[in-house]
Symmetry: C2
Subunit: 202 residues, 2 copies
């Protein structure tokens, strides 16, 4: 805790961030006024400007916090031991989205749009994605090892593919949850794909 005083401050910061999460998810970033956030959090705009310089700044903080969460989730994935179908088991273990996925899908997508137009945000997003791919590549490497196979392609490239599939599927699932339950596309295809990208036995 910084020098002067505090105790209320981190609380209101947290509450503002949480409120912003919900309101952004509901109405979008541009569609949300600072007033909306404060109202939803039970504060006035005074509190907001005392804690953040602008709506943009808050969004960056929000995104960074979520990035850590996502990375933690990925790092927490444990590869199963069973020797039946390692690929399928691994995908199944990793493919369950959290309950609040809808909210974060909306915010992350919003942030993506924001990033395409804003260099500072693009940097943050690309850095997160790079770290995510590194972790994922690591995991994939271990997966192939356990399967007793060698990957036939660069693991970072493969990580890009996996991210593309996951993100693409996520969008479809959030638009038509009934037609495509979350995780289904991944479970249906990723095991086969990963297996197909193992180097041929020699």
């Amino acid at each position: 805790m910084p020098k002067g005083m505090t105790k209320r401050r981190p609380q209101t910061r947290a509450r503002l961030l949480e409120a912003a999460t919900e309101v952004f998810a509901e109405r979008g970033f541009h569609g949300t006024s600072i007033e909306d956030i404060c109202q939803h959090a039970g504060y006035t705009r005074g509190a907001f400007y005392s804690n953040f310089g602008s709506k943009d700044e808050l969004l960056l903080v929000l995104f960074d916090a979520n990035s850590e969460r996502v990375l933690d989730r990925l790092r927490a994935v444990e590869l199963p031991e069973g020797d039946t179908d390692v690929f399928a088991a691994a995908v199944a273990a990793a493919a369950t989205p959290p309950d609040d996925d809808r909210t974060w899908f909306l915010i992350t997508t919003e942030f993506t749009l924001y990033a395409v137009r804003n260099p500072r945000a693009a940097a943050a997003l690309n850095e997160r994605d790079a770290r995510l791919r590194t972790s994922l590549a690591e995991l994939l490497g271990e997966l192939y090892t356990r399967a007793g196979a060698t990957p036939a392609v660069d693991l970072e490239d493969l990580a890009r593919l996996v991210v593309a599939v996951v993100e693409g599927a996520r969008a479809q699932s959030h638009l038509e949850p009934d037609a495509l339950p979350p995780g289904r596309l991944e479970q249906q295809f990723l095991p086969t794909v990963l297996r197909a990208l193992a180097a041929p036995r020699r």
Copy 2:
């Protein structure tokens, strides 16, 4: 042309739509005021309200128009004849994005967000996606035929996968054009993936 009169009308409509396309891409849907659109098109708000009921309505029209374009593009894909690597050739033929892809990536993504929150838009989006998948499944079927193979999975499901990969890759490319040129991920992986999903020869 409708009864009363017209000639100017469809022109200004078109110009407003074109202006909206550009401004939405630049500042986002919520970030764009109706005034912005009119100014960029060289009209006043009077012209806007005479042609559209609201910004939302205009967005729907914009999206529908683009949907047709996308479907036309897909239907125009011609499978190559050469017998070398049919899968690679097909992917290469289909993977080149149009020049204005960035603009439409932004708008479509924006529209996706809009759709997650708005049933009417979701219906439009899902209908387009369904038609897109149908066309794509057809194309894939023909592709397997030419390859002398039988698909091992439902083609509509496979179409979902392809769409996921393409959309996921598109997002990555627009965020890091240098690290991932448009179409590269597709060309690198899709041929192998499609081949791997052919039923084993019997």
